[in-house]
Symmetry: C2
Subunit: 492 residues, 2 copies
C-alpha cells in the first residue's frame, strides 16, 4: 500500500514538508535548525547557481571569498546592521577542546582557550567585506569593485522549515563599491533585474518587483528592492533582495576615495543576495499533490526513459533504441536518464519520477518499438500521448520549452486570480480570512499603520511595486491620502 500523503488542500504546510522528503531534496540534520541538502536537491541548487553565476560574470562581477568569522568589534561597527542581526548570531568563544577528566573518551571545551574577542559566524558579510575594501580603495581608479561570493551563512532561527528558514543556509552575496550614488543605485536595480529575469525565466515564477517599506528594509540599507512571488496557498515569498546601502558601511568603516580632483568622499555601496530559499519557492510554486514539478531549465533529469519488458531480449532491443534517443537528446543539450533497474517495476518508476518532478517521461515497450513510437507523459499537465520516434528529439526540445512556458503561465494566472484591489480595512480583513492572496491597497506610508495591520491581521506590506501606477487614494486604515497601492499579504 502506498503511504497516504497530505494534499495541498488538506494541509499545505504538511504537504510541503512531506514533499521535500518524498522528492529526496533535503532533511533535518542532527544539528537543530540546520538541514542536509541531499544529492537530488543539491543538483537543482547547482543548476540555479550556475545560471546565476554566469549572469553575474556577464554583468561584470567576479567571485571572491571572505572569512566566515567576523570579530565582534567589526560586526558592531555599522550599528543598524549589527542591531538587526544581533539576536540571531552564533558566537564562537573558544578555540579548543580537551579531554574531559571526569568522563573518559569525552571532550569538554578548554576554559584556557577562551578567545580574547568573540567571533560572530557571519549572518551576512558587509562588515568583514567593508573592513577589507577599506584597504583596497584609495582613489576613483579603484572603483567600482564588483564582487560576489557563494557562501554559507548562519542566522539563529527558533522556528525552522527546510529551505525556507534554516539556521545555516547557502546563498550568494554580492558586495559592490561605487564612486557615485547614481552608479550604486543603477547597480542595485541591475541586480534586481537579474533576479527577476532568473525567477521568471528559470524558476518559471512570476515576481513583483518593488521597494520594501522602511521597517522591512535590510538592516543598514537606505533602500531595499525585492522580488515577491505568490505561492500556491496565496502567501508571499520574498525570493531575492538588492540593497542600496548608501554610504552607511563606508562611514562605519571609514572608506573614502579621492575623486579626479583629489577631493575625498565616502564610497557608495550595494549588496544583493538570493539563497537556498529559492528551492522552497520553486517547490511551492509548481508542485502538486503527486510530487515535485520542475521547470525543465532547472531539472537535473529532463527526460526519463522507462523500459517496459518481459524478457532479456526485449530489454536489449529497448536499450538500443533508448541509447539512440538519449544520444540525440544529449546532442541538443537535454539530460536523459534511462532507468533499466531490474529490481523495480515500471509502475514504481513512474511514481518515483513523478515525485521527483522529471518534466518528460518516455515509456517504451516491444510493441512501441514495432510501431516506431513511444508513450510520452508530461509532468506538468499529466497528459499522455503516443509520439513517433521519428523527430522525437526536436519534438521533445520544443515540448520542454512549452512546459517551461506553461508552468510560468499557470503560475501567472494563479497570481492574477489571487491578487485583488481592496479599498476598506473591513473588506481587507474579511477577504484575507476567506482566502489568502495578494491585496493591492492604499496605505498612508506610516510605520504605525503598517505595524497595526501586521498586528491585527498577520499580513505585511510585501512591497511598493516599482511599476505601480500613480493613483490618488485613501489609506484603507486611516483614510489619509495615498498616491500608490502597495502589495499586502501573509508571507513566508
Amino acid at each position: 500500500m502506498a503511504q497516504k500523503y497530505a494534499t495541498r488542500e488538506e494541509d499545505y504546510s504538511k504537504w510541503y514538508n512531506e514533499l521535500v522528503g518524498r522528492a529526496d531534496l533535503a532533511e533535518h540534520s542532527g544539528v537543530k535548525g540546520c538541514m542536509v541538502i541531499k544529492p537530488y536537491g543539491f543538483a537543482i541548487w547547482e543548476k540555479m547557481r550556475d545560471v546565476l553565476d554566469a549572469k553575474f560574470k556577464e554583468t561584470g562581477h567576479s567571485n571572491a571569498y571572505f572569512p566566515i568569522f567576523i570579530p565582534k568589534s567589526l560586526f558592531e561597527a555599522e550599528e543598524t546592521n549589527a542591531e538587526g542581526f544581533a539576536k540571531e548570531c552564533a558566537v564562537v568563544t573558544h578555540y579548543r577542546l580537551k579531554a574531559d577528566p571526569d568522563n573518559k573518551g569525552k571532550l569538554i571545551v578548554d576554559p584556557d582557550a577562551k578567545l580574547e574577542e568573540e567571533l560572530i559566524v557571519r549572518p551576512t558579510s558587509e562588515a568583514i567585506i567593508w573592513n577589507t575594501y577599506k584597504n583596497w580603495i584609495q582613489s576613483y581608479r579603484d572603483l567600482p569593485i564588483l564582487i560576489n561570493q557563494w557562501a554559507n551563512v548562519v542566522r539563529w532561527e527558533m522556528r525552522t522549515r527546510l529551505f525556507l528558514r534554516t539556521t545555516e543556509f547557502l546563498w550568494q552575496e554580492g558586495h559592490t563599491a561605487h564612486a557615485t550614488k547614481a552608479e550604486a543605485i543603477a547597480e542595485t536595480e541591475q541586480m534586481l533585474d537579474v533576479y527577476s529575469w532568473f525567477a521568471e525565466n528559470y524558476l518559471a515564477m512570476p515576481v513583483i518587483r518593488g521597494f520594501k517599506t522602511e521597517s522591512e528594509r535590510f538592516a543598514g540599507a537606505d533602500e531595499t528592492y525585492c522580488i515577491e512571488a505568490m505561492m500556491q496557498d496565496g502567501k508571499a515569498l520574498q525570493a531575492g533582495t538588492s540593497h542600496f546601502l548608501g554610504q552607511n558601511f563606508a562611514k562605519a568603516f571609514d572608506v573614502k576615495f579621492a575623486d579626479k580632483e583629489g577631493k575625498l568622499d565616502h564610497v557608495w555601496a550595494t549588496s544583493w543576495g538570493v539563497s537556498t530559499r529559492l528551492m522552497g519557492a520553486l517547490i511551492m510554486t509548481h508542485s502538486d499533490d503527486e510530487g515535485l514539478v520542475l521547470p525543465p531549465k532547472l531539472a537535473p533529469i529532463q527526460v526519463v526513459i522507462v523500459p517496459i519488458y518481459r524478457s532479456e531480449e526485449e530489454l536489449q532491443l529497448i536499450t538500443e533504441k533508448a541509447n539512440e534517443i538519449r544520444q540525440k537528446l544529449n546532442a541538443l543539450g537535454i539530460s536523459v536518464k534511462f532507468d533499466n533497474d531490474d529490481n523495480r517495476r515500471p509502475g514504481w518508476k513512474f511514481a518515483e519520477y513523478e515525485v521527483k518532478g522529471v518534466p518528460v517521461r518516455l515509456a517504451i515497450g516491444p510493441r512501441d518499438l514495432a510501431e516506431n513510437k513511444v508513450e510520452l507523459a508530461r509532468r506538468d499537465t499529466k497528459e499522455k500521448s503516443v509520439v513517433s520516434l521519428d523527430g522525437l528529439d526536436t519534438y521533445i526540445q520544443k515540448l520542454l520549452d512549452e512546459i517551461q512556458q506553461n508552468l510560468y503561465d499557470r503560475a501567472l494566472k494563479f497570481r492574477e486570480e489571487n491578487m485583488r484591489k481592496v479599498d476598506t480595512y473591513e473588506d481587507f480583513k474579511q477577504q484575507l480570512e476567506e482566502k489568502s492572496g495578494f491585496f493591492l491597497v492604499h496605505w498612508d506610508g506610516t510605520a504605525e499603520t503598517e505595524a497595526r495591520i501586521k498586528e491585527e491581521t498577520q499580513a505585511t506590506i510585501r512591497c511598493i511595486p516599482l511599476d505601480a501606477p500613480d493613483e490618488e487614494g485613501k489609506c484603507m486604515v486611516t483614510g489619509k491620502p495615498s498616491k500608490k497601492r502597495v502589495v499586502i499579504a501573509k508571507a513566508y
Copy 2:
C-alpha cells in the same frame, strides 16, 4: 622606482608571501588566521574546482551539503578522530548578542543565550555525515553512497600562511559508504588516482603517490593514501589525501546494513579531500622571481594582448586586429584579455601580466600590423619571438600545450635532481643540512625511529611510495631490516 622584492634564493618564504600579494591572489583578513581570497586567486581556484567537480561526477559521485556545525556529542563519537582534531576546534557556545548596557552602541554576548550543547565548527565532516548516513542505510541496496561536498572548514592554527595553512579554508570532502572492504579500498585508490591525475595534468606538478605512516595518518583512518609534491625549495607539500576509514565511523555511529542474505554488518567507509592548499602548491612549484607562472590549463587569462600605439588611429587599427585574434582564440576555447587601458603604459602592463603568470603575451604595434606579425612572449621561458598573424590561433593552441608540458617537465626534472638515495643517518643529516630535497631511505617501520628522525632533523616520513620496488636494506638509523625505501623530507 620598482619596489625590490625578495628572490627565491634570498628568502624563499618571504618571496612566497610577497608573491601571493603581488599577484593579487589573497591577503590576510581582519580575523586572525583567516584569509581573503581575492578575485584573481579565486578565479584560479574556480578552475581547479570545476575540473575536479566534473571528474568526481564522471566517477559516479554527487554533491550534497551537510551542516557546518557538529554537536559535541556527535563530534566525540569516533574517539580517534575527535582526539585528533580536538585541539584545533572553534566552538560555538552562544546564539545571541545583546546591547551592552555599559557601552552604548556596542554588543555583548547574551549570557542567557548559552547553548545546552556546544557546537563544533567542522574541521572535517565525518561525524555529521555518518550520523546522517545512519538513517540512509538499511540494506546493501542502499550502497554504495558516493557523495562529495564543497565546503569551508575551520582548524584553529597558531601559525598561519596564506593558502598553505589557514584557520578557515575551502576544500572538497568526499565521503563514501560501501558494502565491502575491497570496494572501499578500490574507491580510496580511485580517488588517489583522480588527485594525481589532476596534479600532474592540470597543476603540471609531478607527485609521489604513497601511504602515510601510522603516525601521520588521518585521525580515524585505517590507511591514508597521499600525493606528495616537491616545492622549489626542496620541501615537500602534501597535496591531497584519500583515506580508507575501515568500519571505524560505522561502528562509532552504529551504521549497519543487511546483505543479500539478511546478515548485518557495519558499513565500510572512505573520505578524501583537497583544499585551497593546492593554490600554495601551484604557486611554489612553478613561479619565479618575477612573479606567478601559471600552467595554461588553470590560467584565468591564457593570452593577453597589449597594444603599442601613439595615436587614437593606431589604437583603432590594433583593436580591430586584436578583436579578430581574440575571436579566433575564443573559438578554440582559449581565454583572451585585450588590455587597452589608456592610463597604463605597455611596460607597466608587461610587468603586471608577468606577475600574474599569464602564459602568453602578445604585443601589437602599427609596424607589426603592417608586416602582418606580432611579438609573442612566453611566461614560462621568457622567450620572445615574432610570429606571423596567419595561423596564429593554432600556433598559440599548440604553444599552450607545449607550455603546460614544459612546466611539468621542468618540475619533474627539478624533483629528480633533488631526490637522493641515502643509506646512513650521518649522510642523511649532512645532506639535509646542505640542501633540502626528498631522501629515499630505509626505515625500520617503527614509530620510535620515525619520531627520533623528526625530532633530530625536522624531516618527516612523507610517504611509503606505492610504486617503491622491493629492496632489502637496513634502517639508516637503527640498522634493523627494511624491505622498501620511504620518502623523507622537510615539509610544509
